[in-house]
Amino acid sequence: MAKTIVPIGPYHPLQEEPEFFTLTVEGEKIAAVDVSVGYNHRGIEKLSEMKTFDQSTFVIERICGICSTSHPYAYTRAVEDIIPVEVPDRAKYIRTIIAEGERIHSHLLWLGLAGHFLGYNTVFMWAWKLREEILDVMEILSGNRNNYAMFKPGGVRRDIKSGDIPGVIRKIDSIVPTLEMLKKAVMDDPVLHARTKGVGILTKEEAKGYSALGPTARASGVARDVRKDAPYGAYDKVEWKMIVTQNGDVFDKVLLRVLEMLESAKIMKACLSNLPQGDIDLRLKDIPPGEGIGCAEAPRGEVFHYVRSDGTNRPARHKVRAPTFMNLPTYKSTIVGETISDATIILAAIDPCYCCTERVAVRNVKGKKLYNGEDLVRLSQEKTEKIRKSMK
């Protein structure tokens, strides 16, 4: 059968790195995939070396808007690892609260878009409506909806006022029932099962070979979570469990994220109600020469920062490794052999980008246009509709 090349990208409104996928398809089946990145490369590692340790936090925050806590978290831990120091308990708790709030909002964002691709626009609107609530919580706690600017080497910049806490807990309590409803909907919905079960499987061995991280690895049965493996912040002081599912398909990734949101809500509540008193900042002055490594579990997996200091007030080298860097190449094993109508949801399942489909255009080798992005989403949505009808 003639091979057709499907370019996806590079622009899509909602991702960390605008990627450019080239799918080679044989009829309906995807035969090969190639990824090209760099549309978002801003030289942050170099910029960070031009700024002082304190200023760098703000640059690092802008690596990714969705992970705007995880990167500063890993960076500040790396700087603290150089000295080495432990931050005060209250700062640890505040950091944990912000990080978990971010996880809920990121997973909700993903869930909404995954729903959109499957033809459930109701899910999209519901999840994003719910997300506004958690953004309100973040605004109360940090003063901004995104880019919280709470972290600094040695502590946090802003305290949580004790007057805010009851209101925030009430807000989280009001989110939990809706999350429970979402969980039930995911578990019960036969159409969702039909669309996502057994689709885009990443086996346990493959996940290990790619060194996959976060939900991508955990959905394949690899129990890998920095929060449990090397507890930091307040994660070893509160009760929570790591969610691991076994099949590695899209369904497991959806379910895993929904369950994780419930755990995050639990952690947030526990931290808020047990917030210890004390200082929130160590007021670090000089950073001695040395090397430091910091990890933090972002919504997508482990963020890894390596900072080298040469005794001046600027980092000599700063290496950032985002989780998607490791997760993206797993497409090579998940997408090959699947059909085009499943491509959008498999590409979305790893949570690097969702709206890539908005700019998809299928061309055959002669350059004649076959489908555009809307057609691909339509194909995906029609398939759902078909399955739904056949089930009635």
Binding site: Y11, G38, Y39, N40
Partner: protein
């Protein structure tokens, strides 16, 4: 004012373009679509294809690789087309000014009509920007000073 521009102002379809942003502006753009802000009540809708768009919402600091794409996409938009630069990166590149991969600000690449400052700007700010843009064009029409075709 041409017929086309008049029609455009009734229900501007927006297309969103990220040129190397941190994602926050992009999320806030999408936030405008969802129940709390709901820009559809103003007749605005996010278009899936550049060929259907009237307004380009550009975010990000315009790096070397995406610059070429932005130019090409701007050529493909049916004119008249309005460009809104969203966020500090799209305005002046903000803290990425000295980055080796972001050589020029966005308005040196494509013409920009409205600037929305903020990192990230709130959804309210974006909605107000588009409303202001529409008012501006209507005023230009009354004064007859519009250079747009």
């Amino acid at each position: 004012m041409s017929m086309k521009l008049k029609a455009l102002l009734k229900s501007p379809w927006v297309f969103h373009l990220s040129t190397g942003s941190c994602n926050n502006c992009d999320i806030e753009v999408l936030d405008c679509l969802t129940p709390r802000f709901d820009i559809e009540r103003f007749g605005m809708i996010l278009a899936g294809s550049i060929k259907h768009a009237d307004v380009l919402l550009v975010t990000g600091s315009c790096n070397r690789k995406s610059m070429i794409r932005v130019k090409r996409l701007y050529e493909q938009v049916p004119k008249p087309c309005l460009v809104v630069a969203i966020g500090e990166c799209a305005l002046s590149r903000g803290m990425f000014m000295h980055s080796y991969n972001c050589p020029v600000p966005l308005d040196k690449v494509i013409p920009v009509d409205v600037y929305v400052p903020g990192c990230p700007p709130k959804p309210e700010a974006m909605i107000s920007a588009v409303v202001k843009l529409i008012e501006k064009i209507k005023k230009e029409k009354l004064e007859g000073s519009s250079k747009r075709k």
